[in-house]
Amino acid sequence: MKSMLNIKDLRASIEGKEILKGINLEVREGEVHAIMGPNGSGKSTLASLVAGKNFADVTSGSITYLGKNLFDLNPEERSKAGIFLGFQYPIEIPGVTMVNFLKTAVNEHRKHKGLEPLSAKDFLKLLREKKDLVEIDSKLTSRSVNAGFSGGEKKKNEIFQMAMLEPKLAILDETDSGLDIDALKIVANGVNKLKRKDNATIIITHYQRLLDYIIPDFVHVLFDGRIVKSGGKELAFELEEKGYQWIKNQVNGN
């Protein structure tokens, strides 16, 4: 299978403190990867770097996406190339309506593909279709982006945006936290429905429960800026059972 994302020896620091200490990760088309790891281990930092957030100093290493050096692309170019980040903490943008935001985003993606902008009618049709897919409250799209959304609504909204943009590589950063069990199923369902042979998903999570619904091909444990263990889905169970202390002990060799 074709390689999609290839991260090699990625090191990054924030304000002089090294956060990522040599990450190696390869994701191929059709795969689902899960990244787990304790708080502060660098999961979101890694995800944000792939999406193009300019906040950490990359001191070495490379990220290749579909053969391209990702560092040559700005965030909007990465998005149009098919990368999607579901934010751990979605941003509120008061005064900018969801509809306007999505219409602009969708049409930018279309422009990139050489397509005409959607007519108002076709856009609304697409909106309705995807709303149904993620079972999001109809009223949310007429409100400002994430403004005053509940925690769960924000998370669902990320999946909704993902459905609208149909990315090749989706990185979902703790999209499952704060969701009730029904919402969790809807989110998982959304991810599964959007799954194709030629796209891939990276799920960052603390809980094995999401992985009951989205079966990962690989599970990685990120610990203190390094991927210290990789395995199949059974690794998630093991982690759930034994906790991170187990990993810590292994890393420290005792």
């Binding site: 300019n54 700005n74 909007e76 990465r78 998005s79 934010f87 005064g95 306007n100 935001f101 930018e108």
Partner: protein, 455 residues
């Protein structure tokens, strides 16, 4: 001890110009206008142009702005411009009645000096109206504009023309009255028009004022507008300033609101070299409500200074102020919002907010609230913010494929929306929204006025 105010050359020049032309002014104008004129020159001689020590003009030094040798037109000059352009570019679906003021004088090209509309509304030249309606002038002219500010006194001294609007009792006028102030000359000029608006009991009306400079010369405008809104009235005042970098504008608005009147002003500064807006509101009757909104979008070396003074002189009144600005490049700005709640003005609600976005490190804003509250049963609040565009929000939008430039625009539009959404008439709001978007995109030329796209 030195109590005397030293008169500068510029002030001396005004005083001399006044003396030379006093007879001409007085011969043309009506008694009330001349009465106010006399006190105007007296007060100007005493006060002069507000100087460095004047707290109210702290951020806008005035004296240097006058040193340009502007010509002062004391009578209308014949100027060439194509009226057809003005009409062609009218706000398409907005039903308006249009009045033209050219270099401070009412322009007859677009109709007779005074016109009575079928609704009974009287609109036209201030000079003509002052002769035609002496009782109205005796009652209102010069009664609200305070000469505490030397610039206002100066305007009174030289006042000759401008527009006059009278909305009779009970008249509900759904159309907007549009007043276009054109500056057009082949040399640098100073204009001082004077306007009077009277909205009588139970009437409702709205005006949109568009300030526009047609030629690239330096202009200095020092205008005074008095607005009287009687009991139970609704009045909307929208002003769009779209001149150019060589234009200096001082605009003084004085509002007197009687009981249960509701007045909203929207001052939109889209383009100008130096702009100073003074909005003075006297809430002079119980149950009056005032909404003062402003939006300023400035870049390059432009400077905009908004001053508001809301005087809660009676109990049970409400005032809301919201001024918002986006400052780019090395633009500078100031907001000074004064609220006075007098001793017996119980149950006052007075709110004020001033929010600013600075797009560069060089752009500057000075925001100063001034609350003087002498009553005890009041609800007052004020707040000022100065910030940048939210980086997190920008990244969020970009991560969805929206280019940075577009993302910034979307955020700026969102920021300005709060002001524009207060314009109640839909076609006007849409048109102004378009103008603001164009301005934010940097595509608004000096020739795109609110309604006028000439040349």
């Amino acid at each position: 001890m030195q109590n005397e105010i030293v008169i500068s050359d510029i002030e001396r020049e005004f005083i001399d110009l006044y003396r030379e032309n006093r007879n001409m002014f007085e011969a043309k104008a009506s008694a009330q206008v001349n009465k106010v004129r006399k006190s105007g020159i007296r007060d100007f001689e005493r006060l002069g142009i507000p100087g460095k020590k004047n707290e109210d003009y702290k951020y806008t030094p005035l004296q240097p702005l006058f040193r340009n040798g502007y010509r002062k037109y004391l009578e209308p000059k014949k100027v060439e411009f194509n009226l057809a352009h003005v009409f062609r570019c009218d706000i398409p679906t907005l039903d308006t009645h249009l009045v033209l003021i050219v270099n401070g004088f009412f322009d007859k090209k677009n109709g007779e000096l005074l016109r009575e509309l079928p609704s009974g509304i009287i609109i036209g030249s201030l000079a003509a109206a002052s002769h035609e309606y002496p009782e109205l002038f005796e009652k209102h002219y010069g009664k609200y504009a305070s000469h505490q500010d030397g610039l206002v006194a100066l305007n009174s001294a030289f006042a000759q023309d401008g527009f006059f609007l009278y909305v009779p009792k009970g008249t509900i006028y759904k159309k907007f009255i549009q007043i276009v102030n054109l500056l057009v000359a082949k040399e640098d000029i100073m204009v001082q028009h004077r306007n009077l608006i009277i909205v009588d009991d139970n009437a409702q009306a709205g005006v949109i004022i568009c300030d526009h400079a047609l030629t690239p010369h330096s202009f200095l405008t020092n205008s005074v507008t008095e607005i009287y809104t009687a009991e139970n009235t609704f009045f909307d005042y929208v002003k769009v300033q779209n001149e150019h970098n060589n234009a200096v504008q001082f605009s003084h608005i004085f509002v007197n609101q009687e009981a249960n009147s509701n007045m909203t002003s929207n001052i939109l500064t889209l383009h100008g070299g130096v702009v100073r807006n003074n909005v003075n509101v006297l809430l002079n009757g119980e149950g009056a409500e005032n909404n003062s909104y402003g939006l300023y979008l400035v870049d390059q070396e432009q400077h905009v200074d908004n001053y508001t003074f809301i005087d809660h002189a009676r109990p049970n009144c409400i005032s809301n102020q919201l001024y918002k600005g986006v400052l780019d490049d090395s633009a500078t700005g100031a907001f000074n919002g004064r609220i006075l709640v007098r001793k017996d003005s119980q149950k006052t609600h007075a709110y004020q907010a001033n929010n600013n976005i600075l797009l560069t490190d060089e752009a500057k804003i000075n925001s100063k609230p001034q609350l003087e509250i002498y009553a005890d049963d009041v609800k007052c609040s004020h707040g000022a913010t100065v910030g940048q565009l939210d980086d997190e929000a920008l990244f969020y939008m970009r991560s969805r494929g929206i280019p940075e430039k577009e993302a910034r625009l979307i955020m700026m539009s969102a920021f300005t929306h709060e002001i524009i959404s207060n314009i109640k008439t839909d076609p006007l709001r849409t048109r102004i929204n378009e103008l603001v978007e164009k301005r934010l995109r940097g595509e608004l030329s000096a020739c795109d006025n609110c309604a006028v796209k000439c040349y």
